[in-house]
C-alpha cells in the first residue's frame, strides 16, 4: 500500500504526533481543536477521492455532510436510537443522496455536476429553515448525545476513523480503480472507447465519497452535540475544497495535511474571527493562481526526493 518506507515512516510519525499532542499538553481546548481538524480531514479526503481523482469538482460536499449530521440528529434525539447507529445510518442516507445527484448529472460532461451539487446543498439548507417545525430551523437539533463520554477517547476514535478512512482511500486510489478514475480525469472519451463504464465508476466513487462525508457529518454531530443548518452552507463546501487545494489535489494524504493546517491556522487567527471566511477565500484565490498543485503534497514529494538523494 505504501510505495516506500519513507511514506510509511511519514505516516507513522504523523499519527504518533497527532496521538501524543493531547497527552503532552493535557488541554481540553487543544483536544477540541484537533478533533475538529480530524473531522475536517475526513471530509477533505472523501472529497478528494471523487473530485480530486476524476477532476469532477463537487461544489456541494456540504450536502453529504449535512445529510449525515441531520440523520444522526434525528435518529439520536427524535427517534431515540443509540448514538452508535448514527454513523452507519448517516452513510446510507448520504449514499442515497449521492446516487440521486450522481445519476442525472454525472452522465453528462460539463459543469452540470458541480453546479447541481451546489444548488442541492443550498436548497437543503433552505428546506431546513423552512420546515423548522421538524428540523428546529436556525437552532437546529439540540441535545445530541455524546458517543463517548471522555473527550480524549472521542478524539482517539475520530483520529482512528481518519486513519482508517485515509488508508482505505489511499489503497483505492493506488489500485486499478484509482487508475481508472485518474484516466477519466485525463480523457473520458478514450476511457469509453476502451470499454470502461465511466458513468458507473464516477457514480460509485461519488457514493463512497458521500458515504464517508456523511459518516464525518455524524461524528461532527456527536462532537458538537447539536446539528445546525449552517452545515449545509456553501461555506462548508468551500472550506473543504480549500483544504484539498492547499493539501494538493488527488494525493489523498495532502488534504489531510491541508485540513489540519487550515484548522490550526483558523484557531491562531481567532482574534480576527470576522475575517476568517475572507481569509479562506483569499487563500483559495492565491492557491489557484500560484500553487495550482497545492502545498502539502508537493512539499512532501520534494522532501522525499531530497532524502533519497542524500541517502543514496
Amino acid at each position: 500500500m505504501f510505495r516506500d518506507k519513507i511514506d510509511l515512516t511519514g505516516a507513522v510519525v504523523f499519527i504518533a504526533v497527532m496521538a501524543i499532542l493531547p497527552v503532552v499538553f493535557k488541554n481540553d481546548y487543544l483536544i477540541g481543536v484537533l478533533t475538529v481538524a480530524a473531522i475536517y480531514a475526513i471530509w477533505a479526503v472523501s472529497w478528494d477521492l471523487m473530485s480530486g481523482l476524476t477532476g469532477r469538482e463537487n461544489f456541494g460536499h456540504a450536502l453529504f455532510i449535512g445529510a449525515g449530521a441531520y440523520t444522526a440528529g434525528f435518529l439520536n434525539t427524535v427517534w431515540g436510537f443509540s448514538g452508535w447507529w448514527s454513523i452507519p445510518a448517516a452513510m446510507i442516507v448520504a449514499s442515497l443522496f449521492a446516487v440521486l445527484m450522481g445519476f442525472p448529472t454525472l452522465r453528462l460532461k460539463g459543469p452540470y455536476f458541480a453546479l447541481a451539487m451546489l444548488s442541492a446543498s443550498v436548497i437543503m439548507q433552505r428546506l431546513m429553515l423552512i420546515f423548522w417545525e421538524y428540523t428546529g430551523g436556525e437552532e437546529g437539533i439540540n441535545g445530541v448525545e455524546p458517543l463517548i463520554d471522555s473527550q480524549l477517547s472521542f478524539y482517539y476514535f475520530t483520529l482512528a476513523t481518519l486513519v482508517i478512512v485515509t488508508a482505505g482511500l489511499l489503497a483505492v486510489a493506488r489500485s486499478n480503480w484509482g487508475l481508472i478514475l485518474r484516466a477519466i480525469r485525463g480523457d473520458e472519451a478514450t476511457c469509453q472507447a476502451a470499454g470502461l463504464d465511466i458513468t458507473f465508476y464516477k457514480i460509485a466513487s461519488l457514493v463512497i465519497s458521500g458515504a464517508i462525508a456523511g459518516a464525518g457529518g455524524a461524528i461532527y454531530a456527536h462532537y458538537q452535540l447539536q446539528v445546525s443548518p449552517a452545515l449545509f452552507e456553501v461555506v462548508t463546501s468551500i472550506t473543504v475544497i480549500t483544504m484539498v487545494y492547499v493539501g494538493g489535489m488527488a494525493s489523498i494524504y495532502g488534504p489531510v495535511g491541508g485540513a489540519i493546517l487550515l484548522v490550526l491556522l483558523t484557531e491562531l487567527l481567532r482574534d480576527f474571527g470576522e475575517w476568517r471566511l475572507m481569509i479562506y477565500s483569499v487563500v483559495l484565490i492565491l492557491i489557484l493562481f500560484f500553487l495550482p498543485r497545492g502545498f502539502i503534497a508537493p512539499v512532501w514529494q520534494r522532501f522525499k526526493g531530497s532524502l533519497g538523494r542524500s541517502s543514496s
Binding site: P104, T105, Y112, I241, M278, I285
Partner: protein, 284 residues
Amino acid sequence: MIEILIQGAVSSAIYAMLAVGFTLIFGVARIINLAHGSFYALGAYGAYFLTSQGMPLVPAALLSILAVAAFGVVMERIFVRPMRTQSLLAVLMITLAVALAVEQGLFLTFGSEYRNVPALVSTKFTIAGVDVAGQRLLTLVAGVVLIGALWLFIQRTRMGSAILAISQDPVAAQYMGIPSDRIFALVMALSAGLAAAAGILAGPFLTVQPTMWLLPIIKAFAIVVVGGLGSIPGSILAALMLGYAETIVAYLISTSWTEIISVLATLLMLVFRPAGIFGKRAAF
C-alpha cells in the same frame, strides 16, 4: 388569478434579467460565471450605499450599474482570463472564490443586517381590483425594456453580430478579425450591468444582505439548464416558466415548497433532456 399573473410576470422579469446575462457569458466565452450573483448583490448594495450618502436615487442607480459593469470587466481581466486557458472547472472555482470574497467584503463593510434600497416608485396601482406596488410594475417594465434593448443590440448592430459570431464559432470568428477578448469584456460589462439593474429594481421588495447572491445564481443555473446553455430565447422562456411555477406553487400550495422547484427542474431536465429546450446539444 390576476395576482398570480402579475406576480409571476414580475419574478419572471427578475429571473430573466439574471439568466440572460449568465447565458450570454456562457455563449460567448464558454464559461460559467458563479460571481454573476455577486453583480446582483453589488448593484443593490451600491444603490443602498450611494442613496444613504444623500445621492438621489436615479443617478445613484445609474452610477451603481456602471460601477458593477466596471467591476465585471476588471474581474474578468484579472481572475477569469488567466484561468480560461486552463479549464472550465478552474474558472468555476475562481469565480466561486470571488463570489465568496465579495460576500465577505459586503459582510465586513455593511454587516449582516438587512439594508433598504429605496423604491423608485412608491405609489400603489390597482389593476383589475388587485393592488400592485409600483416598484414591482416598474421592475416588470424595466426588465422587458432592458432585455428587449439587449436583444436589438445583439441582432441589429455590428458589435452584436460579433457577439453572435463568437458564440457560434470562436475560432472562425477570430480568423475573421473579431477581437474576441474585447468582445468578451463588453459582454461581461453588459451582463454585469443587467444583473446589477435587477438587484437595484428588486432591492426594495427583496432582502438586501451579503448572502443575497446565492439563491439568484441557483435560479439562474436552473433556468439556463431548462432553457439550454447559451440560448437567450431559451433562458427567457425558462425564466417565465420558473417565475410562474414558483408563483403558482406559492399561491396554491405554500411558499415553503417554492425553493425546491428550481433544483427539481434542474435534475429532471438533466435526466430527460440535458440540452435544454432550445439547446443544440449538450454543449460540452
